[in-house]
């Protein structure tokens, strides 16, 4: 079919990091931790117009043990913070966290007694998406940035953080 037929039953050498990261970054299983209106834009990103499956990340897993990327979508309040922490702790390494929208990132305009002022006070965050809510293009951009980040990692990096 393609160029690869010229090589026959041959071998290919590469760095382990490159091969593993290539597989990881195109097969994110994500856990949607959806609490607020940002969820509508998140769903839109999954639907056919924006089609997140073009980036290999279309498969939401509602079990944290099967998920690679935790999407924190929407406002997290202090009452919910232990739940979020628990979901994060249940995820297996390697795992990444995307803070989706301004509420998850900084609390947004909910600067009050109830709201966590950014989920990075609870769990480590890899990528932040601004917007209230973010457009689907911004979500896809964040996903590409996460792929770039993953491709630069070493398989030895992923220890307990």
């Amino acid at each position: 079919m393609g160029l690869e037929t010229l090589f026959g039953h041959s071998y290919l050498t590469t760095r382990l990091d490159e091969a593993v990261n290539w597989a990881r970054k195109y097969s994110f299983f994500n856990y949607p931790f959806v609490t607020a209106c940002c969820g509508m834009e998140f769903m839109s990103t999954f639907a056919s117009t924006y089609d997140i499956s073009r980036f290999g990340a279309e498969y939401p897993r509602f079990s944290p043990r099967q998920a690679d990327v935790l999407f924190v979508v929407g406002t997290v309040n202090e009452k919910l913070a232990p739940v979020l922490k628990r979901v994060y702790d249940q995820m297996c390494e390697p795992k990444w966290v995307v803070s989706f929208g301004v509420c998850a990132t900084s609390g947004g305009f909910y600067d009050n007694y109830a709201t966590v002022q950014g989920v990075d006070r609870i769990i480590p965050v890899d990528i932040y998406i601004p917007g209230c809510p973010p457009r689907p293009e911004a979500v896809l951009d964040a996903l590409i940035k996460l792929q770039e980040k993953v491709s630069k990692e070493s398989v030895l990096d992923r220890k307990y953080r």
Partner: protein
């Protein structure tokens, strides 16, 4: 324009009704705290207010009496609405429960306790409704510190 409902209340409870007013058909009666339950029972049993729409509170710090309970009633039979208020002093922030009259008052009163710290005598289960166990204070009071946080988890860094 005289209001049938407000005139009836004033005639029936001349000592308890502190004030009445109406604006474009929205009728309000302010009653003494001691008569809160009695007036509410009269509204339900005699005037046909079978639905409790809302019960909440307001904090008018530094005014005294500081708090005010606000209740909205509706009569599905007559298509009447009425707002009932009662001032509650800070020193004795409590009132009689309305749960015996309208079971729907249960969670409203729990919310008023949670947010404003107003207790309801006779309430069957007066726990916090919105905030978590271990939360101290009542966050919608005007003297609750604006920036005060009570995290359940230690924050990172």
């Amino acid at each position: 324009m005289t209001s049938y409902l407000l005139e009836t209340l004033k005639t029936r409870f001349p000592a308890a009704v502190l004030e009445t007013h109406a604006f474009r058909g929205d009728e309000t009666a302010v009653v003494k705290k001691e008569a809160w339950k009695e007036v509410a029972a009269y509204l339900k049993d005699e005037l046909g207010f079978d639905l409790l729409l809302d019960l909440t509170a307001a904090d008018y710090l530094p005014r005294e009496p500081r708090f005010e309970l606000v209740c909205h009633f509706y009569s599905t039979k007559h298509n009447y609405r009425l707002r009932l208020k009662c001032p509650v002093p800070a020193g004795d922030a409590s009132a009689d429960t309305l749960t015996g009259l309208w079971p729907g008052a249960d969670w409203f009163e729990r919310e008023a306790w949670d947010m404003f710290g107003i207790t309801f005598a006779g309430h069957p289960d007066l726990r916090r409704l919105l905030m978590y166990d271990g939360f101290e204070g009542h966050p919608l009071r005007k003297d609750y510190p604006l920036k005060k946080r009570q995290p359940r988890l230690p924050h990172r860094d």
